[in-house]
Structures are given as C-alpha cells and as structure tokens.
Amino acid sequence: MNNRNAWHPEDTVLADYLAKKLKRTLRNEIASHLASCPECLEKAVRAYETVKEAGNSNTPKKRKGSFMRNINIYLLLALAAFLLSFIIPRYFLQFLTATMLLGAKWVVDSKATRTLIMVREALKKGDEKEASRVLNARVRI
C-alpha cells in the first residue's frame, strides 16, 4: 500500500519475473513491489493466468509423466538411508532413525495424506461442505 504510487516495474521486467529470468536481487525487489502494489500484482496474476490458459501450444512448460517427477525425494532418501544402514553397520541405528524420519516426512508430504488431514480438520470443525469441497478438488487434481 505504501508503494502504491511509487516506482512500477516495466512490463518487460514483470514478464521476465514471471518467466523466472531475473537475477535474485531484482527478483526479490519485484516480489517486494508486488506485495505492496495491487495494480502490478493484478497485472502479473492476469498475465500468468492468461499464459496458463493458453496452454502448451504457446508456453514453455515442464514435461509431464516423467518417472522421476512422480517419485518423492523423501522416499528416495529413506530408501537410501535404509540401504546404507546395512552397508555401514557401524551407524546402523543412526541410518535407521534417518529412514524412519524421512519415511514419516514422505507420508506426511504425500498428496493423499495432505487431503486426508484437510478433510479431517474440516470434519472436526463440523464443516461437511468444506470437507467434500476439499475432497472433490483433490479428486479433480
């Protein structure tokens, strides 16, 4: 709000920000500006939404369906720690603890668990509508 009438980034700079082409300092500067300038935030959000709606034909996007993308990093680390516990028996307990911690993180981090937690919290508050909304939204994803 305080920056509302001050400096506004050029449209090209805002586009560079959305395309992740700015250096860290300028990137942080733009993020700070967006936090307090509703006009530029609106402009950035609409540009992002437009490019997203226009889809793959016009936009550089990540490839989907890659095997590695579907594997959670915590699961991989947990497996690695588990294997290491046998390879280096001296640190068996330490690796086993690491396996358990990383495994727990993997479970908590997974989408299905997050959905369950959100549904449970909504039901706890007695908001069945919210619970079914969360569930439907996740099913659509």
Binding site: M1, E10, D11, T12, L14, A15, D16, L18, A19, K20, K21, R27, A31, S32, L34, A35, S36, P38, E39, L41, E42, K43, A44, V45, R46, A47, Y48, E49, T50, V51, E53, A54, S57, N58, T59, P60, K61, K62, R63
Partner: protein, 201 residues
C-alpha cells in the same frame, strides 16, 4: 521443448526487430490466441462486448508492438508470452476506458486491482441490511489491514492465496518458490492473521 520454443522465439524476435514482415506474421500467428485470451478475460469482467471488439483490440495491440518497435525492448525470449499477455491486457483496459468515456451511462471500468477492493465490495454487497453491510465492510477492512501488516513474502503469498484463490502449487510456480516454502508462508500468515483478527476468523 521449452528451450526449443525460446530459441525459436529468440530468432523470431531478432528477425522482427530487423523488420522482417514474414517473421512478424509468424509471431502474430503463434501468439494471437494467447493475446485474444488476455483481451477476452478483461472484457468479460467489465462489460458486454462483441466478438469483433476482441479483434479490434488485438489489432491495436499488434500495431502498437510492430509500429513502435516494442519488441526491441524485450531481453528474454522466454518472457515473450507473458509480455504479450500484459500488452494485450493494457490495450484492452485502454479500450474499456475509452468506451466508458464515450458512454457515460456505463460504470467506469476500474484499472485498479480486483484484489482487496473487490473483497471489500463483494462482502459489502452480499447483504441487504445496511448495518450488516457496514459490519461486513469493516471486517473486510480489518482483514485487508492485517494482510498489509504481514512481512513482505508472507503478504505476497497470502494475497495470492486469499484474494486470488491460488493454490499452493500455483503460487510456487508463479513466484518460482519451492512449494514447501509457500505452504509454510501460508501457514504462518494464517496464524498471524488469526492472532491479529481474534474472533473475526
């Protein structure tokens, strides 16, 4: 794939800047759909429009870019789709402002952000009771003020989440942040808002 597009675009932009009409035609063909989407999204929000209005605004946007050599100011080819979306939206907003000044009966389109002002308007308009409306407006104002008091990163993330209804992964993608950080900012922001607003939430 992504880099292929950027390389193609980079080449195309350079040729356009050098005045190559064929490259310009190719660029228009590739991105006119995206620009139409940007224009339609603005027109839809504000007033009734005819299909040819979108064409007119698209032509204005393209003329502005070509005749004023605006492509030369673009440093990164990967930013081209975002920049074109911004230019098309700007032209659509100018067109709406002009249309509003010609037809004074129409409400003047707001160039401002929908965000907090819209929240305020929406909350105030959902009740017919003036006292209730006033109460809601005050509540909305308190929420806005609390969001404004958040630390910068939390403020930006919370605005995208609350005012624009963006999901955690969308915010992460838009701001180039890890999803975990976004979730963390939202959790912290919500906690601060809850403390700040007391019984309001």
């Amino acid at each position: 794939m992504a880099s292929d597009h950027a390389v193609e675009d980079h080449d195309m932009i350079e040729r356009c800047v050098a005045g190559d009409a064929e490259a310009w035609a190719g660029l228009c063909e590739r991105y006119s759909r995206l620009m139409r989407i940007a224009i339609r999204r603005e027109l839809e929000k504000r007033r009734e429009y005819a299909a040819h209005d979108i064409d007119d605004i698209l032509q204005d946007s393209l003329s502005y870019i070509w005749l004023q050599g605006k492509l030369a100011s673009l440093k990164n080819a990967a930013s081209l789709p975002y920049w074109l979306a911004i230019v098309a939206r700007n032209t659509a907003l100018d067109w709406l402002r002009k249309a509003a000044s010609i037809e004074p009966a129409e409400p003047l389109p707001s160039p401002d952000c929908e965000g907090s002002d819209d929240l305020d308007r929406h909350i105030a308009s959902t009740s017919s009771d003036p006292a209730e409306r006033l109460h809601r407006r005050e509540s909305a104002k308190r929420i806005d003020d609390s969001i404004e008091r958040l630390p910068e990163k939390e403020k930006l993330v919370m605005k995208l989440n609350i005012l624009y209804g963006k999901k955690h992964d969308e915010i992460a993608e838009m701001l180039g942040m890890p999803k975990g950080s976004v979730s963390c900012y939202i959790r912290r922001g919500k906690k601060r808002l809850r403390n700040d607003l007391g019984g309001l939430l």
